[in-house]
Structure formats: C-alpha cells, structure tokens
C-alpha cells in the first residue's frame, strides 16, 4: 500500500515538473501585448492630445521596438517609461534559461492639423528573433468650435484638473516673446495687455496666461490682477476646464492657457499699474508615475501709459466716460396723444466700449411737457475680446397742453480712440400732436404728476414697464398652424389602437377556445363509432389473439372511448376516481359501476392463468360492445371551466 502511494506521489511530482516546463515554453513563445490609446474622443483639430503605446513582452533578451512615424500629426512632446521589468529563470542544471518580463509605456503629446481620419502606423516589436506587428490605429479628428466664453460678472469658478480639452486654433505653435525675467523653465504666469498706451476711457484687454511644460492637474488663483485705476469688465472669468494651446515662448515649447481676460478702462491719465496675478499651480512633471507638486507662480506687474483725452475740438457737452465706438438714437413711442397721456422718449447708445458707464443726454425741461427722471437699462455683452452692448434711457413725458409740441433735438458726443477724434450725433426734432383730453384730464393734473391712462400714485406706463418681464430672446418658432394634438391623426390612431389591440387579443383567445371545444365535441361524437369499429376488428380476430392480448386491447378500446367522450385523460385514474368522474360528468351510478367492473374484469383476465374459453372471450367482447352502446347515448356534461 505504501509502495503504491509513493508511486502516485512520484507521478504527480513528475507531472508538475513537466507542466512547469511546458508552461515556461509556452510563456517563452508568448506574443507581446501592444496597446494604443488616446486620452480623448473626439480629438479636435489643433488640440493637443496624448497618445499612449503600452508594450508588454516576455523574452530572453530586450525587445526591439519600432514606433510609428505619426504622419500628419505634430509631436509636441514624447516620453518613455518602463514601470515593470523583472527576470526569472527556468530549466534544469546548466540548461536553465533567463526570461525577462517587461512593460514599456511610450507617451506622445500630439496635435492634428487636419480634420478627418488619421491612421497611425503599426508598432513593430521584435522579440526572440521574431517580429510582431500591432494593428494600425485610427483616430478621428474633428473641426474645432469657438473659444469658450463666460458671462461677465460671474464669480470665478474653481478650475478643474486640467487636461487640454477645448479647441485651439490650428496651425503651427504661436511664437511669443516674453520678458526673460517672467520666464521660468517649466511654468509661469504672464499678464499681457493688448496695448501699452491708451487714452482715458479706452478699452485695454488684459489677458492672464499660464505657460507650462508639464501637465497641470489643479490651479487656484490666489491673487487676482490688481486693477486699481480702471473700470473693469470681465471677459473671461474662471473656467471649469482650462483650454491649452501650444506656443513657443522665447524659443521654448509650452502649452498655454488663458486664466483671466479683463477689459480695463483707464480712469485717469498717467501711469496705471496692474498688480501681479498669483496662482498656485499643481503640476505633474515627468511621466505617468511621477508625483504631483504644487508651485506658486506670480506674474510681473504690468504698466499702461494712460494718455489724457485731447482737449482740441472737445465738444462742450462731452462726458469723459463716453469713449469707444457707438451709435446713438432717440425716438418717441407716440406722435399723437391727448393731454395727460404719457409718451416715452427712448435714447439708446449701442456699440463697443465702457457701455455700463455711458452718459446719455439729460432733458431738464421741454416746453409743454412734464418730464420725469429717466429710467436707464444696460444690456451688456462682454465676451471674446471686447465689450459691446446697449445703454437705454427712457424718459417719461406728459403733455400739459394741447397743440403741436416738439421734443427737441438731442446731441450726444463721444471720443473714438481708433479714429482719434470726437464724434457728435444729433437726433432730429420730434413733433407730437397733443389733443385735448377726452376724459377731462387737465394740464394741471399732468403738472401734478398724473396721467390720463395711469393712476396718479404709481400707475405710470413707465413704472408698469419696469414691472414687466422682458421678451424672450429664443423660442422654438414653428410654422404650419397650431392644430391641437388631440386632432392630429397619429394621436387618434394611437388612442384607438390600444383598445383595438385588447379587443383583438380577446377575440383571438375566444376563437381559439371555441375551436378547441369544437374539436372536442367532434371527438366525443365519434367516440362510439370508433370504439365499435375497433371491437368489430377484434371480433374477427378473437381466435388469433392470445387472451392477454385480447383483454388488454379491450381495456384500451374502453379507455379510449371514455377519454373521447369525456375529452379528458382517464388512464391515470384509479377505479374509484374513474367512477366518481363518470358520475360527475352525467353517467349513471349503474353505468359507472359497470365500466369499473369491466375494467377490472379485463385486468383480471389479462393476468389470470386461465383465460377462459373462446366462448367466454366472445361474451366479454359482447359485454363491452353493449356497454359502449349504452354509454354512447348519454349526454356528457361539460368539463369544469378552466381559468382563462
């Protein structure tokens, strides 16, 4: 017994060793695993993206790797790392072999300058003298949209871990020259103004950039640019995701993101300084497995020379805040009114510049009218690289006397810095026909502040206008009338379809049941004749069959007859169950007992040693025939109702 066990253990050990060798051989011949991935989908034209090629090999020596050429793509940066490499030996004695398991990761930062499909060549890896090739890798490059913008005046949103994610202009990296004292080798913050010299009130666009050579994972601006001495409008506040573009600064390759963009309007002449912007930048220098670190970076301050507004040709009514490029207009809402009915004079200045602070003409007195304080409204659009908008001033005027009254011409001047000159716009004189009040409203009432259409306290049209919510700028305009849904054909079809489907299912199941019933009735009707036919055949061959065969056949004829009549199986019933079932279905007690008696007689005769004489067998056959004839005329009650 012990010998036997030793034998088994030896065999198992040998199998394990052989399995190990086989497995090692299999490992030795294992093909390298090559995977190519990009860090986003879709890739936008001009946007930097990261492509990673991971190669896992097991071989005796170092693998030879041939990387693709990236035709049609610009390589901004590339790196290589080997996060895993270990060796192991297998084999016996001097024939052991060394295997090296290695993982290599090649990372490329690429930019596609052309939209469409780009196919990246296969990676070729040569291990143990054998070359393996990956499949070509396709990327789809789509055209970029616009630069993201943000609403002016919104608080700066926290910047998310940064991956270049938004479109950037196509083409080669922009070349920028930056003061060398601002430039750090790896990352720095820069403030840039679109002009170094500006007149008072002229718009200067200040952009705060982050330059980096490494991946930025988080960023927080700890000190916003100091803008004392300027009116400020925000063009681009904190963004959820930074948008990077490749640039060359002082001959070095960087990725650059805009952190802030402000429109500055200098208030006074002289030197105006924008205090430095300070940011905490979390970066991940090196490859994938390098650690993150946070560095504080501060920009250099920025000085802008602010020139005074020219005094030459300066209009008398000019207000120094009106600097930019504007259109001015004035209109009245009604030309014919009754005494006491208000009219509204609307003045608008639309254009580019410090719209929020524009000063529009003031109406002190107009002959024949009571003039109210103006209501002003500003609709500002600060985005991209400029501030545009509309400043509206509405003046409520109530005619105090009937007649032809005039709203005087209005003059408005502004300084256009691009043209370097003052411009004056003049609105025409507006005539208003004032009729006597039909409701007896008097000029005195108007002079006291009332209107014919409004309640004297706070019911003026102008006040009403202020309470009203303004128009919607967008709406889904549909053409083709406004036919209500409930009259559309598809609505009616769907509404009717559901009950129709239900009725169809109900009718179909009812028809199926009826068909089954009809089939059953036919079977029941033919049960007697079928049984008698079979008995006639048996009668002819009564001498040829053995008694067991004969009685078995007779019992079968009787069972089939009953099943046909009852439309239900009875073969599995015990004799008492059969009797009960027959009585339930309309057979008399006597008939039911007779059926049971004959069934038992058949069973007995099949297994009895003596099978009786020929005459007795003939009598048995006749009894069953007679029984079937008697049962044939009975009206069978329907089977118990099944659940639907």
């Amino acid at each position: 017994m012990i010998e036997h066990r030793k034998l088994i253990v030896s065999a198992l050990a040998a199998a394990v060793v052989l399995l190990g060798i086989g497995s090692a051989r299999a490992q030795k011949l294992k093909a390298p695993e090559i995977a190519t991935n990009v860090d986003r989908d879709p890739i936008v034209r001009g946007e930097a993206f990261e492509l990673t090629i991971t190669i896992a090999t097991e071989s005796e020596g170092d693998p030879e790797v041939r990387l693709p050429q990236f035709r049609g793509l610009r390589v901004l940066r590339q790196s290589e790392s080997h996060p895993m490499s270990f060796s192991f030996s297998f084999g016996f004695g001097g024939k052991s072999q060394k295997q090296t398991k290695r993982q290599s990761i090649y990372t490329f930062v690429l930019v596609a300058d052309r939209a469409g499909k780009h196919v990246i060549d296969p990676v070729v890896v040569k291990v143990s003298g054998q070359s393996y090739k990956s499949k070509p890798y396709s990327i789809q490059v789509v055209d970029h949209g616009g630069q993201p913008s943000s609403q002016p005046g919104q608080p700066a949103a926290p910047t998310q871990p940064s991956q270049p994610a938004t479109p950037m202009p196509a083409g080669p990296p922009a070349q920028v020259d930056i003061d060398t004292d601002q430039v750090d080798d790896e990352y720095f913050v820069q403030m840039h103004a679109d002009k170094e010299r500006a007149t008072v009130g002229e718009m200067v666009v200040l952009t705060v950039y982050l330059y980096t050579q490494w991946r930025v994972t988080d960023l927080e601006i700890t000190r916003e640019p100091g803008t004392e001495g300027f009116w400020v409008e925000t063009l681009l506040a904190g963004q959820r995701r930074l948008s990077f573009e490749p640039v060359q600064a002082n001959g070095k390759q960087y990725e650059r993101a805009v952190l802030r963009k402000l429109a500055l309007f200098p208030i006074e002449p002289g030197e105006a300084t924008v205090a430095p912007t300070v940011a905490d930048v979390e970066v991940k220098p090196g490859g994938f497995f390098s650690r993150r670190k946070t560095v504080k970076r501060s920009s250099a301050p920025l000085t802008i020379e602010v020139l005074p507004l020219p005094t030459e040709d300066q209009p008398a009514a000019f207000d120094p805040v009106n600097v930019g490029r504007f259109n001015f207009g004035a209109s009245i809402d009604r030309k014919q009114v009754e005494v006491g009915e208000p009219i509204t004079l609307t003045m608008t200045a639309r254009g580019e510049g410090n719209v929020r602070n524009l000063s529009l003409p003031e109406l002190d007195k107009v002959v024949g009218f009571k003039v109210y304080e103006p209501e002003t409204e500003v609709d500002l659009r600060a985005s991209g690289s400029t501030v545009t908008g509309l400043r509206t001033s509405r003046v409520l005027m109530i005619p105090k006397e009937p007649g032809e009254l005039s709203v005087p011409a209005l003059e408005w001047s502004y300084f256009d810095p691009s043209a370097g000159e003052y411009k004056t716009v003049k609105s025409p004189v507006r005539q208003v026909t004032v009729k006597p009040s039909s409701s007896g409203f008097s000029g005195d009432q108007a002079a006291q502040g009332g209107t014919a259409a409004a309640s004297p306290d706070d019911g003026s049209q102008d006040r009403l206008n202020r309470q009203l919510r303004s128009i919607l700028s967008r709406g889904d305009i549909e053409s083709g009338g406004d036919r209500p849904t409930m009259t559309r054909p598809w609505f009616l079809a769907l509404a009717i379809l559901a009950p129709l489907a239900f009725v169809a299912v109900a009718v179909a199941s009812r028809a199926r049941r009826r068909m089954a019933e009809n089939q059953g009735k036919g079977r029941s009707k033919r049960a007697g004749s079928n049984a008698l036919k079979r008995l006639a055949v048996l009668g002819k061959g009564v001498d040829e069959l053995s008694p067991a065969e004969l009685y078995a056949e007779l019992e079968r004829v009787l069972i089939h007859f009953l099943e046909d009549r009852l439309e239900a199986p009875v073969a599995g019933d015990t004799m008492s169950e059969l009797r009960a079932r027959l009585v339930d279905r309309g057979f008399s007690e006597e008939q039911s007992s007779q059926v049971v008696t004959e069934m038992e007689a058949c069973d007995f005769a099949r297994f009895a040693r003596s099978s009786g004489s020929r005459e007795e067998r003939r009598q048995g056959l006749d009894r069953i025939e007679e029984l079937i004839r008697s049962l044939e005329g009975v009206t069978v009650s329907p089977p118990p109702e099944e659940e639907p």
């Binding site: 609307t346 019911g459 009203l468 709406g475 849904t485 559901a498 489907a501």
Partner: protein, 261 residues
Amino acid sequence: MNRLAAALVSTALGLVIPLAAIADGKSLDSMFDEANDAFWNGEYEKAAELYAELEELGARSTALSFNRGTAEARLGNLGRAVCHYERALRQDPGHADATHNLAVIREFIARRASEQGRDADLAPAVGPWRAVLDRFSPRSASIAFLIFDVALFAVLILRRFIRREIYRLTLGVLAGVLAALTIATLAVTVGKWNQISGEREGIVVVRGVVEVMEGPDSEVKRFVLDEGSRVRLLEERDAWVKLRDDQGRDGWAPGEALGEI
C-alpha cells in the same frame, strides 16, 4: 367634401406662406431675431408689427405670443398685451413670465379703473373644473391621456396571459388605477378640445373701455367693459360680435374692439 377641400387648401397655404417668407430671404427665426432687435432698440411698434407678421405667416410659439404681448404692453396697448399673454398661456399654462406679466397688467388696469370710479375685475371667475383645465395645455393633456390609455390596455392584455393569482390581482389593481387616470385625462383632453373648438374667448383690446350695446349698430348701451376684460364670443354679425362677460351679461361690441385668444 367641402371640409376636405378646405383642409387641403389650408394645409397648402400653411406650407406655402412660410416658404414664401423663407424664399424672400428670411427664415422665421431670423424674423423673430429682427423683431427682438427692434424691441431692444426701443422700437416697440416695429417689434409688434414684426411679431404680428410672423403670426400671419403661420408661426406659432409661446415665446412669440409672449414677446408680442410685451411689445404691446410697452406701447401701452394693455388689452392687446393681455390677449397675447393669454395666448401664450393657452400654449404653455405654466409659463411663469406670461403669468407674471398678465397679473401685473391686470392689477394695473384694475387700479386705473378704480381711480376712475369703476370696478374692474379682469381676472375672470374661474370654477374648479376650469382651474383644472387651465393647468394643462392641449398637448400635455393629450399626451398624458395617450400614455395612460396605452398603459391600461397593455396591462389588460398582459393580464390575460398571466396565470398566477397574485400577479393577476396586482395587474387588476394597476388596471383599475390606470383606468381612473385614463378617464380623468380623457375628460381633461375633451375639456381642452371644447375650449379650443367650442368656446371662443376674446379680450377687450381697445384702450380705456368699450361700450357693449344691445344689438349691432344699436344706440342703447348695456354696460361697459375695461380694456383687458375676458369675454366669451358668441356670435358674429357684420363687424359686430355678440359677447358674454363673466357675470353672464350679453351684448354686442364692435369686432375691432376685441381680440380672440
């Protein structure tokens, strides 16, 4: 047959008129933007005309009705403004801006009427059924009915094939709930249909008040209605419309004094 011909003609016109506008170089959206620009420029009259032009071209939207109402309100045409806000609310009963502006204008008109010694209650008395109907747009009522209708019969069909008693019982209860919801939404749908097709409603759009007379061209005044009052339109004869106010008073007013919602 006549109805079929009318339907065909109206469908053709519905297609052709907007196409003509587009062929003229303007899409409905650009016209809408143009009207909005006019509004922002303070040219409310032009804005109102452009919105009206859009509606004449068959354009329909809540924003369009709302904006037209707002332009009319800025022009002081408060009755017209009420009419267009009511239209906006017919399309979208939950439209917050239209609800707000309508309430502001009604309050304004009521206060003005009160100052002039009249009692103007422009917010018509609304019964509970009407209040329920006003919470639904025709579209939302129809879609809700369809969903419950289809779900009800799907459950009934499914129940025919289920044998287990507990499931059959659950489906039976669910069918009962769905049947109740189907009936309720059907009632609302029919109610909305009646509102649209049966009860024509109008708003007094003239400034100030309109005098309601005993008959067309009659000299006998029955009562006056304030600008912005909601009435039921009963009959039209020549340029006159028979109306009924929310107090049940009937009379005739010039058609031009009324705007249909």
